[in-house]
């Protein structure tokens, strides 16, 4: 026997990991996204009218925070932002006590970004509230994987309002870069193969250890970006997370030479590839500026899908039918 007792289950409206979503769950989120998107703004604003959503951010964020906040507001919810820089967290209050305080103040759902992997699990267990994981340490960013999935469906001309085990059949997604430290890579690598995609992870060994194969039985590793690109329908690039490189030495010039997504590489190996990046981007490092702004890029579209997907996640969290 290798495991013993189990931890209590979280609220069904929580989204802590993509692994907690069934394919029908994913399909329902996509369908709800499409329904909400099609609603006139006044009707949409009634969905969560009077409901209270707290955004608890222990890490700085632009797109995820704004996206969740605008999504909640567009649904009529009252939002409050609590950050570690301007709250009792700075005085040493624990995550558990912060969560309980927010609950006592009437928060009905908490959106949490935290630099510690697993923090959303803890908050969900301690408060019993629906918790939406907006990125936890090096662990997961499940709403990002959902918005990436929707972006792929729309850009590849597939049905954007439903999901199945084969909806990405024939699509090869190459995820390149600092996979060791990337929560976006983990969520995508665990979700996309379940939807039929072939996922190839690409990067040098220090940033892509062989343990990454454990994310899904179908995951592949390819160290050569050119070889990976020649098979790619989607090239998802990741930022080098310098802040998390403790103990690792990385030759940036060699990295740029081997793994930067350039116009020349695309022209040579994958002229039609869909270019994606979860941001923030470091132009000139993992991606050439011309590529980020070029015709293959879906980077801005990803952000737009993020807002849409998060409306559906909020509605789901608060148990409202949309």
């Amino acid at each position: 026997m290798t495991t013993e007792n189990t931890l209590p289950a979280h609220h069904p409206g929580s989204l802590l990991s993509v692994n907690h979503l069934s394919i029908p769950d994913v399909s329902e989120i996509l369908a709800a996204t499409a329904r909400i998107e099609a609603m006139p703004a006044p009707e949409r604003a009634k969905l969560l009218a009077g409901r209270r959503v707290a955004l608890l951010f222990y890490e700085s964020s632009t797109r995820t925070r704004t996206s969740f906040e605008l999504a909640a507001k567009s649904l009529g919810a009252t939002t409050t932002l609590v950050s570690d820089k301007s709250s009792s967290i700075e005085k040493g209050e624990s995550l558990k006590d912060t969560g309980i305080t927010l609950r006592a103040l009437g928060a009905e759902a908490i959106i949490l970004r935290h630099n510690a992997s697993g923090a959303p699990d803890l908050l969900a267990r301690m408060t019993g509230l629906p918790v939406l994981n907006a990125g936890d340490g090096m662990h997961e960013h499940p709403s990002q994987a959902l918005l990436d999935f929707r972006t792929m469906l729309t850009r590849l001309g597939l049905d954007a309002a439903s999901a199945s085990e084969t909806c990405l059949k024939g699509v090869t997604v190459v995820i390149t870069g600092d996979i060791r430290h990337s929560r976006v890579a983990r969520s995508n690598a665990m979700l996309l193969p379940r939807l039929g995609a072939r996922v190839i992870l690409c990067g040098p060994e220090p940033l892509l250890p062989r343990e990454a194969l454990s994310l899904h039985p179908a995951i592949e590793i390819e160290r050569d970006l050119d070889r990976a690109l020649s098979q790619a329908s989607v090239a998802m690039m990741l930022r080098i997370q310098k802040e998390r490189l403790a103990g690792l030495s990385l030759d940036l010039a060699a990295y740029i030479e081997g793994y930067q997504l350039t116009e020349a590489r695309i022209a040579a190996h994958a002229p039609n590839v869909l270019v994606m990046h979860p941001g923030p981007m470091i132009r000139g490092l993992e991606i050439q500026s011309e590529v980020a702004d070029g015709p293959n890029s879906a980077i801005e579209e990803q952000v737009r899908h993020g807002l849409a997907i998060r409306t559906a996640l909020l509605v789901r969290a608060l148990g409202v039918n949309a």
């Binding site: 290798t2 013993e4 007792n5 510690a116 697993g118 699990d121 103990g247």
Partner: protein, 438 residues
């Protein structure tokens, strides 16, 4: 009048190769005699225990527990920790020095061992090997040995510096005592909170490699060899809570070469793997961490082939609020003093066929030898009457809420156990019986 007669017990005493139905007579806190059932009928006896159906063994000895006193009494005290130990069948425990302040002086050692601490059983201690457990300057070994130290350790931390470790081994060897090493190269484990492997990768946590443990073990063994040849001394290295196949292979080889190395294994390392951390279960967070299945099986193999000398719990209580934090911030350690027998019998005996007598040896006779206890760890006449009575076939479920420890941080809450302690007798006194302390 005789103090106590225990009748009809299945007596298991590996030290005297006794494994038979017997009556045991206790007089003035010592084992007086062991004879065939009914042999003592003519005596006038004050107290009798009918132990039919129960195994009777030397009280268990744990060379590695944390009792948190002084300084962290909200987690545990010597009184509560030793009551919990008695519930687990233990009659002697060795307290580690990472208290607040660190137990690194004769004064603190004397304070810890004083009767005022209300230990329920025989309490011993290993004071710090270096001042403040900082790994720089040795503590006063001679004075500490005179004060009752049974070894020296910076447990919780390794002695990293080669010269300091060499000096510790040499100095302790002159006292005839072991240096007990927490084998972790902390230069390789900064920011790590679990075993390095696929589970850590999936959870997004930094992992400790097996080399972080084996490198220190290999270094220490090299020091033993060097000291034996250079100084003509025979130092004793005791490796704590070994968790990796690689470190066990190094220990096995060192033993074959005749070096004085002993080691302990913890029940959690032969029962669980890093899978237990799924869901960020801080009650399964410990150091050394739960490892891969190959390492778990290597620990079991090393127990079966005698490489592992004893079972030690590393009982490490922490309050609930301390574990209810982000995984990486949670303190290492689990309680374990009440579940050791139940897990050893379930995993080692039932699943891997280790005879009950061998488990008794791992929990009583062998640890007594490691810390040189002459009159404990076996049922020889004249020894202290340290006795555990247990039902080796009893199947039960452990409930953390009913633990006698102040803390309940265990991954074994509601876990099945095999073998239940019915009574614990320390120096002739019944200190625990049927779930209640006495």
């Amino acid at each position: 009048m005789t103090d106590l007669l225990i009748r009809n017990a299945h007596v298991i005493d590996p030290a005297t190769s006794l494994d038979a139905q017997k009556d045991v007579l206790v007089r003035e806190g010592r084992i007086s005699a062991i004879e065939h059932p009914g042999a003592f009928t003519t005596l006038e006896i004050k107290d009798t225990i009918d132990a039919a159906g129960l195994a009777l063994a030397p009280g268990f000895i744990d060379v590695h527990v944390h009792l948190r006193e002084p300084g962290q009494t909200w987690k545990e005290t010597i009184a509560t920790g030793t009551r919990a130990a008695a519930a687990g069948g233990y009659t002697t425990v060795v307290a580690m020095p990472n208290t607040v302040p660190v137990n690194d002086t004769v004064e603190s050692l004397t304070w810890m061992l004083a009767p005022e601490r209300n230990s329920a059983i025989n309490l011993l201690a290993m004071p710090a090997a270096t001042q403040g457990s900082l790994g720089e300057h040795l503590t006063h070994y001679e004075a500490l040995a005179m004060g009752g130290a049974v070894g020296f350790t910076d447990d919780g931390k390794p002695i990293l510096d080669d010269h300091v470790m060499r000096a510790a081994l040499v100095t302790a060897a002159r006292m005839g005592l072991p240096v007990s090493q927490h084998a972790e190269d902390t230069r390789l484990t900064g920011g790590c909170s679990m075993h390095a492997g696929p589970v850590a990768f999936r959870l997004g946590l930094r992992g400790m490699t097996v080399e972080a443990e084996s490198n220190i073990v290999e270094r220490d063994i090299a020091l033993l060899r060097e000291i034996e040849s250079d100084e003509g001394l025979r130092p004793h290295l005791h490796v704590q809570h070994v968790s990796t196949a690689k470190a066990l292979a190094a220990i096995r080889q060192a033993k074959q070469q005749g070096l004085h190395v002993t080691c302990e294994a913890a029940p959690h390392h032969f029962t669980l793997t890093d899978d237990a951390l799924e869901g960020y279960n801080t009650n399964a967070k410990m150091n050394p961490p739960l490892r891969a299945e190959t390492d778990r099986l290597a620990v079991i193999e090393a127990i079966l082939d005698g490489t592992v000398d004893c079972i030690a719990t590393d009982h490490a209580p922490h309050a609930a609020h301390e574990k209810e934090v982000e995984f990486e911030r949670a303190p290492n350690g689990i309680t374990g003093i009440e579940t050791a027998l139940g897990l050893a019998l379930r995993v080692l005996h039932r699943q891997h066929g280790l005879p009950v007598a061998h488990i008794v040896a791992l929990m009583s006779n062998n640890p007594a030898k490691i810390i040189h206890l002459k009159d404990r760890g076996s049922l020889k006449a004249g020894n202290y009457a340290d006795i555990v009575l247990f039902d080796p076939a009893a199947e039960w479920t452990f409930a953390a809420a009913q633990s006698l420890s102040k803390s309940k941080n265990t991954p074994f809450d509601q876990a099945p156990m095999l073998g239940r302690v019915h009574a614990t007798i320390s120096e002739g006194r019944v200190v625990h019986r049927h779930g209640t302390a006495r």
